[in-house]
């Protein structure tokens, strides 16, 4: 009402011809054309200044953004032009973020594929000096140490999250939250030193045990599990808790039978990602689990090899000829990356499996 009143007083109400709803857009081929133009100009400029692939891509990108923006601004108007410019910037930022990831994967696959063979998975390094050998002992060690760390961390982390969300009371809960935040930031080598010192108290100096590695990883994993489980439990609507209370269900059963199943998908995803986070830790395992060339299936008996430590040692002390050791290091890194990717994929499958069905 006020706007019509304003129009009638000073200026005539704008007719439809002044405010057309249809604008002339740039043709569909305009972005491609401006990429082409930008590439041609960039090639021309670089022919003078000296050619390089990175320079070429960067210059093309900048010229592309400028030409498309200018074209859009003259034909389509300011808002559309800004939209196109921001689209280009966002896409470029995405590409920059993906670059290291793709490059890393490419490098690891390129270098690791040479030794990515059956022998890698079926033999350890016992008695191997030159070529040959495998990472079986490291796979076993990583599996056992991470598995044990998970078995310890998940119940502790989950129960702590349940306390923080369902039973929190005043100062204690605040202190726990603060400590969890601090623990999230602990450097992994400190966790390793902690585990080492703890085991030295019982077994004397120089102790190297797989279980000590599990402990160090647990210290790193517990805060991650707490944080993710806490967020997931907070997402459970309060109405569901009240519905259960109103049925005369005790609080602990409400938590076990209603709250946890509702949050199960997110919690399972969080746990899987926490595992993925610690499985590549090197420093603490180097300290407390040590390294060895034989397959050790016993967490409580002596040194244990793990994939990150194996990759580190094989690369820094490759033996003779050095190529064989370096190829094994790359292959171990490739195995580790495949495991982590598998964990991430399984997190998605688990989330789909557990998530509440809508039934529509």
């Amino acid at each position: 009402m006020s706007s019509t009143a304003r129009h009638t007083t000073d200026e005539p109400a704008p007719s439809l011809e002044d405010m057309p709803l249809v604008h002339r857009p740039l043709p569909r081929w305009a972005p491609y054309a401006s990429v082409g133009v930008a590439a041609v100009i960039a090639a021309g400029v670089l022919a003078v200044l000296g050619f390089g692939p990175v320079r070429f891509v960067l210059l093309t990108l900048v010229l592309f953004a400028v030409t498309l923006y200018a074209a859009s601004r003259t034909v389509e108007g300011g808002r559309k032009a800004t939209d196109r410019l921001v689209t280009i910037v966002v896409a470029a930022a995405f590409a920059v973020a993906m670059l290291p990831l793709v490059s890393l994967l490419w490098t690891v696959i390129e270098n690791g594929i040479a030794r990515f063979d059956a022998e890698l998975f079926t033999s350890d390094m016992r008695g191997v000096v030159g070529p040959g050998g495998g990472v079986l002992h490291a796979i076993v060690g990583t599996g056992l140490i991470t598995g044990a760390a998970t078995i310890v961390s998940v119940p502790v982390g989950l129960m702590c999250a349940v306390y923080l969300v369902e039973y929190r009371r005043g100062r204690l809960a605040k202190a726990v939250t603060f400590l969890v935040d601090v623990m999230t930031g602990i450097p992994s080598v400190v966790a390793g030193l902690f585990a080492y010192v703890l085991f030295v108290l019982f077994f004397g100096p120089g102790v190297r045990l797989g279980i000590a590695g599990s402990l160090a990883l647990s210290v790193l994993m517990i805060p991650v599990v707490i944080r993710s489980a806490e967020e997931m439990l907070k997402l459970v609507p309060n109405e569901l808790r009240e519905a259960a209370y109103a049925l005369g269900v005790p609080k602990w059963r409400t938590v076990v039978k209603v709250v946890l199943p509702t949050a199960a998908a997110g919690i399972a995803t969080g746990i899987t990602l926490a595992i993925a986070r610690v499985i590549g830790e090197t420093a603490p395992l180097l300290l407390v689990a040590g390294f060895t060339s034989t397959t050790n299936w016993d967490l409580t008996d002596g040194r244990m090899m793990t994939l990150p430590v194996f990759a580190y040692y094989s690369y820094t002390q490759p033996g003779f000829p050095p190529e064989a050791g370096q190829q094994r290091a790359w292959a171990a890194a490739l195995v580790l990356i495949i495991i982590v990717m598998g964990l991430n994929l399984s997190a998605r499958v688990i989330a789909r499996f557990f998530s509440p069905k809508t039934g529509r």
């Binding site: 569901l240 049925l247 005369g248 069905k357």
Partner: protein
């Protein structure tokens, strides 16, 4: 299966804030008691204090007496969990458990409380409760589908079935129709009329026509201003409240001159 509730001098607090003050009323068995009043006057707070759901909110507490068949609900040795098994509740928004099927939702009270129940007995209970909530014919062929796949009105009737499956003495309903369309509302009102043969029902509603249609007795709550506690102004037979109330405030509210 139904009990009379005597409330005397009930003050309800959230921390230091007194939300409801000095309520004294009697809720008759096998009848529907409606509570009406403007928003924020403490109707919901009051109804939640009748099955000790109020204290689920941190810092919330209650002073005064709520006596059901001679037992004070707020007595020192009373377990709130036992209270809630006797006095069921239906909430404003339908809240079926999303991880459970229709069958499991209805069986939830029994299963979560008693652990193992014989399958045959549970089947009977589920069918009886769903029939009691007028939902059986609509869901009998998809009992194992998730409850969240039902329409809003069906979900609310599922929640009523879930509440009556534990065979409570009293059923509290906190604006059970406010999220529903008129047809679902009608279904629930019909249901209330049948349920009152067995249960004592207390219903909070913003819809005065609804209070007039379904209830036998009506209580009017109001509030003097923001930050002031809500009070029970008047309680009487529904017909009297809506035709010839004693208090001016009630008349003003009912005739739409206020609130």
């Amino acid at each position: 299966m139904s009990k009379r509730i005597d409330i005397s001098d009930l003050d309800i607090y959230y921390g230091d804030f007194r939300a409801v003050e000095g309520v004294t009323m009697t809720i008759e068995p096998r009848a529907v008691t409606a509570l009406i009043g403007p928003s924020g006057c403490g109707k919901s707070t009051f109804i939640r204090s009748l099955n000790r759901m109020h204290e689920v909110v941190p810092g919330a507490r209650v002073e005064g007496k709520v006596v059901i068949d001679g037992q004070d609900l707020y007595g020192p040795d009373v377990d709130p969990v036992d209270v809630r098994r006797q006095i069921g509740m239906v909430f404003q928004r339908p809240n079926p458990f999303p991880t459970m099927s229709i069958y499991e939702n209805v069986a939830a009270g029994m299963r979560l409380n008693n652990g193992r129940v014989k399958k045959g007995k549970l089947d009977d209970l589920v069918e009886r409760s769903l029939r009691g909530a007028n939902l059986w014919t609509e869901v009998e062929d998809r009992l194992n589908r998730p409850g969240s796949g039902l329409s809003g009105g069906q979900q609310q009737r599922l929640c009523i079935a879930r509440a009556i499956a534990i065979e409570p003495q009293v059923l509290l309903m906190d604006e059970p129709c406010s999220a529903l369309d008129p047809i679902s509302t009608l279904a629930i009102e019909d249901l209330i009329a049948t349920l009152k043969e067995q249960y004592t029902i207390v219903i909070v509603t913003h819809n005065m026509q609804q209070a007039a249609r379904v209830s036998d007795r009506t209580g009017f709550f109001t509030i003097d201003g923001p930050g002031r506690p809500g009070r029970l102004i008047e309680m009487d037979d529904t017909s009297r409240i809506f035709s010839n109330p004693t208090e001016k405030a009630t008349e003003d509210y009912i005739s739409g001159r206020f609130g």
